[in-house]
Symmetry: C2
Subunit: 201 residues, 2 copies
């Protein structure tokens, strides 16, 4: 419980951008715009000390993509394997429902970028893909078959509203008809009163 009597805790209300490095901006854009379905909003030309950059939108989050010609993490000894490719390991992109997930899966399979397997991961469904640079990420939607009673005793709920928060993340409305509108979501940029934080398990 936050009993701080001082000023309210100012805190982030989202992620503005993810910085991503690619050796080939054109190839990156072709994949993420055509196959994944993101929009580019800006392309910055090269200048002193930097090559091209682009901004792609995943809803209201930016991918800030930096072209570093010749960039090859494997030359630094990095593998493409999960947990061996840097502190930031992967991204999951949100789609609203299984129909959208299936549509993107079909596009990914067509360019040989995914096995097409859709797996349940708690309240999410997950489709893994590998981009042309070898970066493995996911497409996610809400798993309508998720049963919270399958939680284990070893798992700790820190915020009682965790499942509702997960639904908000996945743009899944409590009703049976997930929609893409964000009007029902709450952004909690500022913690003005009580918190449900319980400290560390």
């Amino acid at each position: 419980m936050n009993t701080d009597a001082g000023p309210a805790l100012r805190r982030p209300c989202g992620i503005s951008h993810v910085g991503i490095v690619t050796p080939d901006l054109d190839r990156f854009r072709a994949f993420y715009e055509t196959t994944i379905g993101l929009d580019a909003t800006m392309v910055f030309g090269s200048g002193p000390g930097h090559a091209r950059q682009a901004v792609l939108m995943a809803g209201d989050i930016m991918l800030h993509v930096f072209e570093v010609p010749g960039y090859d993490p494997s030359a630094q000894g990095l593998s493409d394997a999960m947990f061996e490719r840097g502190r930031l390991d992967h991204l999951g992109f949100t789609v609203t429902d299984l129909m959208a997930l299936t549509a993107i899966r079909d596009r990914l399979i067509a360019v040989d970028a995914s096995s097409g397997e859709i797996r349940p991961l708690g309240p999410m469904l997950s489709l893994r893909f590998q981009d042309p640079d070898g970066l493995e990420s996911e497409i996610n939607c809400y798993n309508t078959a998720f049963n919270p009673s399958t939680m284990r005793n070893e798992d700790g709920i820190v915020t009682p509203e965790w499942l509702e928060r997960a639904r908000q993340v996945l743009h899944a409305s409590p009703s049976t008809s997930p929609s893409c509108t964000t009007s029902e979501t709450s952004s909690n940029c500022q913690d003005t009163s009580t918190t449900t934080r319980r400290g560390h398990e």
Copy 2:
């Protein structure tokens, strides 16, 4: 221009989660909850083949944090330097205004995690910090002093609404009083009609 007469392009409406690796989940949580101000919603206990995991919320985006005891990218030859730490390079967390940015800056300075310098980066203000694992990221808010006329000839606008999209990303309303509500933002999960995509510059 998208002249595809087939089914509408199904596309992501956001980022559900970012997968992050830490060698010390307790230290990670202490920093991101107390200093940055995120909320944890779930902590998953270790099990066969995996150690602990936690879900922290940055607004409606999850950080899915995997504890990998002993994880040390520098042992793999990775540096902490920008563009040398993996394909996913950094995150930027959104705050609504300079007051929130300054509040978090003060907390970061208090734990020696930031120089405190706030720099303009186009339509964003940026405060860099380094977390206890050495990962460098940013806190961002909208730069109310940004002048789009400073764009260079080498820079290409792909989407005419790029600046409005950037404002949405940063939860900055077109008025002078940025708010934290998301009701004004538009999520574009599905491309039902025209697009402003112009292809690659």
